[in-house]
Symmetry: C2
């Protein structure tokens, strides 16, 4: 597979610096490496909970692709549980957050979501 | 959202019959319903384990999109564990299987994988 078929992902290193790593090849391109499988499995795991998936869709579908935590908390669970789920999505790289004044605003990280979509695109 | 934007998925009913249901809208289309979120979360959960994801990529990348269980078992876990993971992928609708002679052959279910990819396609 040529490098042009790889999807570039920007991930945070443990020290907080950014590194652009190619991740991951389409699922049809060949056997996944152990490292790529662990990376992608963690992203899929972030979307493997119905409440977390609904919170993610609320952010993704919000005007401007950004939502205040105050706008997306009505998913039938407590505020600490909402915060826990948003942290998991952020830890997996699917959301970023920014505090502005009283509220924290969440945005979808498009490159990470695009990588997941491309990986499952059987036309690749 | 118009019906033409929905991805058609064929799912097995509990009685074993097939039903074509529209699932699921792109993540950017609006808030996911509870039912759609549960359906999609179960599919993402199937890919949330690194060994399961590697087995899935082995089937998807095999010649003809089909692999004998005898061809894909070298992922560093025992045969019963391989069987357990393949069953999870099958239960989630991502793989189908067919016994021919001694061996069971697994194939990717393209409509289900395409639905997952389309759901995460931010261009939708």
């Amino acid at each position: 597979m040529s490098n042009s078929q790889m999807v570039e992902l920007t991930l945070l290193e443990p020290d907080g610096s950014e590194s652009a790593v190619p991740c991951c090849p389409p699922i049809t391109a060949g056997e996944l490496s152990v490292a790529d499988a662990e990376k992608m499995a963690a992203m899929f795991k972030a979307l493997s909970d119905p409440v977390r998936l609904r919170l993610f869709s609320k952010v993704a579908s919000h005007a401007g692709g950004e939502a205040c935590v105050c706008d997306i908390s009505d998913v039938g669970v407590s505020q600490p549980t909402v915060s826990h789920h948003l942290k998991k999505l952020k830890d997996a790289g699917l959301l970023t957050s920014e505090r502005r004044g009283t509220w924290v605003y969440y945005s979808v990280e498009p490159s990470v979501v695009a990588a997941m979509s491309a990986m499952l695109d059987l036309r690749n």
